[in-house]
């Protein structure tokens, strides 16, 4: 059973006055309008914080009621920062059974009405308790990974600066991105320290936002060609390698195999740069270059809109903003928009035929790879 992305709906990411349900409904309505409001029989929602003591519980029934989807089936998925990618995979897998005809996927997060301490604490729930007990946070472990990557390959923190400058240049072309202004290498290198070598502009920002998508059985301009998931040890001390994410390598291998293609056929890439140096690690793990070689791709702008492989034309997580659950679906959405020729000012130079989206959970403990193409394989 083949599935394709029939429409995409996204509002602006950033500091928004609306609550979670309003943000979700905005994106959902845009996606539903894109298909002429045809009937939906499956609703899949994703949110990392839509439960617990924050008054945001029950996103699924509240959104179903808001959208008039009383007769649809539905469920909510959660895989921390990978939730959006997981929601997409879950909807595809359900449609592939033949039980449903058309799914609405909505992934959203409301974060800016909470303190940084609250967000840090909740985001740390995707880490191991022993790491948190030592005072570690997501940026702390990302810094350990980055430090190890730099040491292993004889690189400096310039790798982080270059990746951020790229992300912000891309985001400046995307009207839905949190950050609308590009930054210079100097601005990045002089931003305040968060977890050295990571500085503020190397880290994704706390944002509000939602992404929605309608998936249908059949083929179209953005057909699902391949899916893959992979897991890795939650604790970084239990991983064999810190400068590469095993979960990405596993997910990519499965996705390439299921799509019956190789990385050479990928024309556009959207990866989950929760921290800007992760973009380089992702490029290497997805097979586009060898270990420690990704910096050259940025230095020579092979990753630009007109480069040999445009990377994160949306601005990525660092440029687009990081409403955590929405990001994973936004990554798939960006590839779909590029394939459908609907990316506007952030369209890559030549309309792509095949694109790949990669999403990570936590410090890359559960990663997902999605390959979309203009034609079914």
């Amino acid at each position: 059973m083949t599935v394709h992305v029939a429409s995409v709906g996204m509002g602006r990411f950033g500091k928004r006055p609306e609550g979670l349900i309003d943000l979700s409904a905005e994106a959902a309505h845009l996606a539903l309008e894109g298909i002429g409001r045809k009937p939906i029989d499956l609703l899949v929602v994703g949110s990392m914080f839509a439960h617990g003591p924050h008054g945001r519980e029950s996103l699924l029934p509240r959104l179903a009621g808001r959208l008039g989807l009383e007769t649809a089936s539905g469920y909510r998925v959660d895989s921390s920062s990978g939730t959006g990618g997981m929601a997409f995979h879950a909807a595809v897998l359900a449609l592939e059974t033949g039980r449903f005809d058309r799914a609405l996927v909505v992934s959203a997060e409301k974060m800016t009405d909470r303190s940084t301490a609250e967000n840090t604490k909740d985001l740390s729930s995707s880490l191991h308790v022993s790491e948190v007990a030592s005072g570690a946070t997501m940026p702390a472990l990302a810094a350990i990974v980055t430090s190890r990557y730099m040491e292993r390959h004889g690189l400096t923190s310039r790798v982080c600066d270059v990746a951020t400058v790229h992300a912000r240049a891309m985001a400046a072309r995307n009207p839905n991105a949190h950050f609308q202004k590009p930054v210079t290498l100097e601005e990045v290198a002089n931003s305040r320290p968060v977890a050295l070598p990571l500085r503020l502009l190397h880290c994704s920002a706390i944002s509000d936002g939602a992404t929605a998508m309608v998936l249908e059985k059949g083929t179209g301009p953005a057909t699902v060609l391949g899916l893959g998931q992979g897991f890795d040890a939650l604790r970084i001390v239990d991983r064999e390698d810190l400068t590469s994410f095993a979960a990405t390598r596993i997910a990519a291998r499965r996705a390439y195999e299921s799509a019956h293609l190789t990385r050479k056929e990928i024309n556009v890439l959207e990866v989950h740069d929760a921290f800007s140096p992760f973009t380089l690690i992702h490029l290497e793990d997805l097979g586009f270059c060898g270990p420690g070689e990704a910096l050259e791709w940025f230095e020579k702008d092979w990753v630009g809109l007109n480069g040999r492989l445009p990377v994160n034309p949306s601005g990525g997580v660092v440029g687009r903003g990081h409403p955590v659950a929405a990001s994973g679906l936004a990554e798939v959405a960006e590839v779909a928009l590029q394939l459908r020729g609907e990316a506007g000012a952030h369209s890559i130079g030549t309309r792509p035929k095949i694109g790949l989206a990669q999403t990570i959970s936590g410090i890359a403990s559960h990663n997902l790879v999605t390959i979309l193409g203009r034609e079914a394989s």
Binding site: T116, A117, T120, K121, S124, S130, E131, V132, A133, S134, G135, A136, T137, P139, A140, A143, I144, V145, S147, R148, E151, R192, P193, V194, A195, L196, P197, L198, A233, R235, I236, V237, D238, L242
Partner: protein, 107 residues
Amino acid sequence: MIASATLGLSLCRSCHTRFLPTDGPCPKCGSVDCVSYAGSAVGKVLAATELHYPATGWQAPHRLALIELPDAVRVLAVVDGPTPAPGALAEVRLDKDVYRARSEPTR
């Protein structure tokens, strides 16, 4: 730094993985058939960070290091003192539920 300092570690009797922290099942195979033993507390710093926004309850700047002990046992430890460079030697001790490390330059 005391080269002969020791630290309590765990050994999985099923797959022979050695690991820290000692609580919980084997991180490799999930077996709970693990035994404690005393191993060297001195290892090499693989990576470190200086954290300016640590988790609640810790003061900034808060330093953490990933340290590799003999037999490829790795531990994430709070660093007492300046941020160590990769490759530096560090001595690890258990302080209540938290591993702490003190480092000195390799030369």
